[in-house]
Symmetry: D3
Subunit: 245 residues, 6 copies
């Protein structure tokens, strides 16, 4: 059995980090296939970058489906292209953002999200409203630092992340924290211990949910918005691209 | 590792059926401990029965926690006593109703619930509102038959269940179906094949979610409503009962 | 005519205090029957205590109904067991929490609730969401003191309660205050005078609403979730308990 | 003690009918002062009529307040001018629409409203959204007949009203019915008996709530939107009108 | 082509200011007819003043409709009498409050409103809830000064307005500002430049929307709540008033 | 002054039809620049097609902005790529879907959308929830025919569209209709006349809104989610693509 996790950006080091986190969580008999888009932005910061990240990501998902993937994980906290991916393939597709929210709902009455840049806040709020889970999220916060800063001890990013978690506990009585960035995957356990509440990160959450769906034999509904698109010509640079069905 | 699944009613045959469904889903290394309440109603039909099912169920959960349970599942679609159980123990607790809803959200834009008796509809709607997932549920339907009728081919119950699923597809464009009763656990696969959409049942959904939480090392938040209750005397017949902490 | 007010915990001094508050409000021709549960916790602090308070409380309600009660009041601000009680008897049942919310809605655009311990906040928020009144509640606040502290002038509890009311006026522009604890019944008038806004407490609010329903000749709907439960055996310690119907 | 009930339209026969209904419910020691506007429409059918009904109604409320009214009731199901009236006087003001909704919430999980003309549906829906109670109302229905038709046995209006109640039970599982017109006050008991569910009418509901607020000594909050308007000149035909304060 | 803008209060200087703002925005071929009510308050501060402003305003709208108005604008940020006006005439009617909200929604994810007095906050919040746009409004703020203070440099009102805008950016991450008072029409451009975000004022917003509706040939729906009221006598001082239809 | 309208699909005949509709509405002094994507699907049917339509559309928007566009219109009812486009340029961007919804809100209490294929319903519902306007939309309906069928009198598509409008009036009391497809632009006036209620189509609605924003001098907020993306390399086929800023 194989689970496919796709990094929608084009940075190999992030793909490796994500793959490592996924493999650390995956069950013994489960192969993790980690891919990244062959085209588009090196990082996804907002709606515009998303738009150019999705076409290549969808190609990876079509390829992996043909290669026998039992489920797909989109490893960007914005759940980039999740609806299109669900339309593209029969196997279930999970975004790491939604995975983290659903897991948080099983552990706490309400949670706060802590992400990196303020630019990402509206994107995350949009998703929460759409998923129906806005009432479970007390607040979406941003630490005001870039992802890479987390790996530089001198940047103070980790301190700011901790400060936001403390503020979430104090100001909105957050009962759990969702880490709003794929690059924070390795911090969850330490932050949970330090702050005394569940800290959930999306890559590992998505892996256990994907394995669960596979075990249950469930696939994406093809009634409604996830029905395959009617076959049609694609023009220009997308002319030769793989198409669902 | 052990997962505890508790039947909050006092009927042994239902406990066995639930245990079988849970064990069929559980991973190789996971022991399933199935219990049932030692006191209370033989079936849970509405809020009143729930009230007398919860004390005995909570005792089973405290016992199983002391026996080393890594997670607990409440095997009643009403998620009977879920909040109290989360307050009682450190390990995560999952209701089969919420488990089914969260899984359905990963597979479809909106789902309908089909339960047995109309009496159960408001209880289920109450839970959906409270979980924040009411906007994902198109409608809660009742077939108008009792649980046991499903096991009697002459009762016509199975036909009525199928008719409700067809109505859900036609009338509210349901994209997935959640089976609203623990006694329907063995019907999901056949109904899914027959009706051409995901049909989710809660016992197996809860097992994969519980295993997932255990794998992630996550526990119920003890900040907020699930903090342990301050220790205090209990009077009357509950005087000698086990207490959290 | 008789109204039954039940204290769901097992502490006689609280029952007396509640009875006094109810009798001070009740009309001339109305008898107030005050009872308390014969089993369960001495105080209700969160979901777990609620679970063990409800069975005994329901027995008191069944007894009082047989004794001719025209209406029942549940004297715990969490509206403990309200749905089960409505299923149990034909006469109307009112919780002191919901009573206070509905009265507040007739006097102000939005109100804040001030309760004792932070543990109670999620329970209250849950009720407000469920009742549909969350949009009328600006915020649920906790003073961080226990009920008994209110009776000890040296505890500073009264000062903290006042400070929360001031904060509610300043921070969320609360137009009215709902006191979130049965033990605050005697403070409403003084706090209202001191802070210059309506301060509503649930026991007296419930008494006037209960009398009103009796005068209107209205009873709980038995269509939907409050239909009597189908008769069934109860096992164990609940075997001999009275059952609705 | 005196309660003032004002008919915002200018038809004396309706004022008498409303007064009779109010007096039939009021407690022994409570005087009911029934008034009607001296200007404006003979009936209120929609927003435009409301606009011309409110000025005269507010004058009656100011007069009655000066005459010692302890509370005011607005006897139009649209709760015509309720906010302005609350701003005008210190004593509490209750609309018969909101009174009926709040009483229904104490008796049933969800209710349907049955009114006369389709024109009134959006006005009622607007109020329910604003009060925060839209989630408790299953549907607002119109029988398609005028108020006076109810008093003409040959009109078939009563049959259509009953038919809507039956439809509400069948189609949206309504658990209670709110009668959406002051002119239906005398029908509630018979309809409740016939259809087997609580049928609530606003005039009597408002009387018991008004008496309750008086007994509790509570008045409208003057923080927020109900603070008295800053004194200012009124021009034209309103120049000599009484003004709050 | 003619657009009618009505000042619902009776102060000529405000009508002139509003007319100037409207004419500055109107297209070359569009005549702006500016009127004011002949009766009622000199300023609208809350629900009570609204009640006496509406009758005269509606007369102006009926007159202007007969005079050939293609659209009507209600120049009070509270959207005073908007529903009644829509019922009164066939041409479209726009309130300057709703105009500003809809324009803000086209430019920003969420906006804050800054008005003058705290008394106005609940009125504005009521409208936002009713329009369905409450989720797009981050917060309604009041500067705590009167309209006229804005024209007195020594009053400090402009500084307080700016301070509220800064607070909206900092505290609720407002992306755009809606000025909540017709008297702020001339401040929008300067405030936008100073604070670096869109600042929207309602008079000009309503003019472009009204012109747009005229160009599209669209009129108010007469199905539902805006159907003309059934013709009926009006008593008292309103006896000779013009009536729709 | 120039307004840019972009057809996100690659079919020239549709671009021409859209351009004609836009030019028919645009003011005398306003140039309409109509473009289409150079890459991607020939029609947009669901999320997957959207994903491949957006990159080329964004390039057209960047080009038109450099060419001096004062505003941009996205001529797909799904508002394809609207958020990314707002991030890309300073001038305002309007989707024809949102344009139609906002116009409908100015004319009616609630509206229904009638689109072509059921596949589009969830996409439209998603947008309405996100815009905050779901409460104003009574229902999203699909006629079950393709866009091109509307141009074939023998297809029966026009009859089915009319039948859906009738059903919307009867079943959900729709007060206005929004046509859910750019290809229906030429049908609005005739359908409005036939069915007696406002029928709104998005291309013309977007043109008047875009002209209005230009006249008001307002631009997209760059605080929040529409701030320009931090500059970064794009890999693969997107390497040479224009980038915002």
């Amino acid at each position: 059995m194989m689970i496919h996790i796709v990094n929608p950006n084009t940075t190999a080091s992030m793909t490796e980090k994500i793959a490592a986190a996924a493999r650390a969580t995956a069950s013994a008999g489960m192969t993790v296939r980690a891919t990244q888009s062959a085209m588009g932005p090196v990082a996804i910061e907002g709606y515009y970058d998303e738009a150019y990240a999705i076409p290549g990501m969808l190609q990876r998902i079509l390829e992996a489906e043909r290669a026998g993937a039992s489920a797909h994980i989109i490893a960007c906290f914005d759940d980039t292209g999740l609806d299109a991916a669900r339309q593209a393939v029969a196997s279930p597709v999970i975004g790491i953002g939604e995975a983290a929210y659903h897991v948080a709902c099983l552990l706490a009455g309400k949670f706060s999200v802590v992400t990196t840049l303020p630019l990402a806040i509206p994107v995350i709020e949009h998703n929460l409203v759409r998923y129906g889970l806005a009432s479970r999220c007390a607040r979406v916060r941003a630490g005001g630092f870039g992802v890479l800063a987390l790996e530089d001890p001198a940047s103070g990013a980790l301190e700011r992340l901790s400060a936001e978690i403390e503020a979430a506990k104090r100001e909105e009585r957050a009962e759990a924290i969702v880490l709003g960035c794929a690059g924070m995957a390795d911090l969850a356990a330490a932050l949970s211990a330090k702050h005394g509440l569940p800290v959930i990160e999306g890559v590992s959450a998505a892996v256990v949910l994907a394995e669960g769906l596979v075990k249950l034999g469930l696939k994406t509904s093809k009634r409604g918005g996830y029905a395959p698109p009617p076959c049609k010509p694609y023009a220009g640079i997308f002319a030769g691209f793989a198409y669902p069905g």
